[in-house]
Symmetry: C2
Subunit: 228 residues, 2 copies
């Protein structure tokens, strides 16, 4: 039996999430000792208070979900998020620049965010939005992220045409450097998919169904003990 909660970034990035929704998200993350809570920047102050005495990390998103804001704006947002207590920043790459084959722009955004580590230590995850990439573009981005020193590559925003696929993870595993960790995200609603992703060695799962997945996993473990 694994500690499923320790792999979960419990996520609520809905624009209409209210204070009660954020409260529940944080309380459940604390109760189950999940890895992190992932919320929009506006909710950092509230979530930071709720998680203050816990080991649950406070994660937010930068340039989310379109990644089309430009360098200065992303760095301002990242800097603000750190000031507001974020432990982990999930940055959406500049997908338009990738489509222009302008990897210098995309890489510079990543490097500039990572330069903020001199200000305060944090975990940096780079969201590539696999749904919008060709395999060649994904492979090029993996190389770029390998070299950047980012902590994680993250597959998806959850706001595009699809979330993570097992195929995405196989490509990432084939090309990523040893030190780069993987966060699978987008559409992880079933325990079966969560387990398949963990079997492929994924280090984190971003999901808006975290508590349900934990409970389903616990039930599945009990069932397998009762019916050997």
């Amino acid at each position: 039996m694994i500690n499923l909660a320790s792999f979960l970034d419990s996520t609520n990035l809905k624009p209409e999430a209210n204070e009660d929704d954020i409260h529940c998200l944080c309380m459940e993350a604390v109760r189950y000792e999940m890895a992190a809570v992932c919320i929009n920047p506006y909710r950092l102050a509230l979530a930071g208070k709720l998680l203050a005495d816990s080991k649950v990390k406070l994660c937010t998103v930068i340039g989310f979900p379109l990644g089309a804001d430009g360098l200065k704006y992303k760095i301002y947002s990242a800097s603000m998020a750190l000031d507001n207590g974020a432990d982990e920043l999930d940055l959406v790459i500049n997908i338009g620049a990738v489509k222009d084959r302008n990897y210098k722009i995309a890489g510079n955004e990543i490097d500039s965010m990572l330069a903020l580590k001199s200000k305060r230590d944090f975990i940096a995850k780079i969201i590539v939005e696999t749904a919008l990439l060709t395999e060649a573009e994904l492979i090029t981005l993996i190389g770029l992220i390998n070299d950047s020193g980012a902590d994680f590559i993250k597959t998806s925003t959850g706001f595009s045409s699809r979330g993570v696929s097992l195929g995405d993870i196989n490509i990432i595993n084939a090309y990523k450097s040893k030190h780069l960790q993987v966060k699978a995200s987008g559409g992880i609603k079933s325990l079966a998919l969560a387990m398949e992703l963990l079997d492929l060695g994924v280090n984190r799962l971003g999901t808006s169904s975290a508590t349900r997945l934990i409970n389903e996993y616990k039930e599945s473990q009990c069932t397998s003990r009762v019916d050997p």
Copy 2:
């Protein structure tokens, strides 16, 4: 016969839009003399060059599409967009704050953006995302936007569960002040819907099908002359 193009904000906010896509969008807007081109902040420099010698306005989006970035971040983004040549700013309200019934936060974001008019004149449109609002919330927001001095109320981002409905416009028309203009947006893909919205007095249509709608409209006018 109306000048349909003069009502159109020709829009491409797709994260994967490349330079060629933005080029086509701008060239067609110039050719047909559309009201504005609406693009992501990263594309302001390119689109600004392409529209430089035209009357087509340069429009971008702020806090888009979730509206959950917080006040400082939105104002920084708006200020940057003006520095980068934007003539029109479409700001997504803080929907989470509305759901908390914290209209002070939502109103303060609008007022703070409008305060930038002292720096440079621009058209301010406030996106309320009707898909996520109750009728009571929409009516409260209309009152708030009436009082703010914003130029437009805009219905939708195009990234939520639905775009504009005729019902939205009827509510807006019933509660808006005389001076407040209306931009309908999200899912305006058919000429029939575009015409119904204009019949309701809408001042702008945000659409990613602008050129097609213009051509369909011209064809429909020719057909009605040939077959009386």
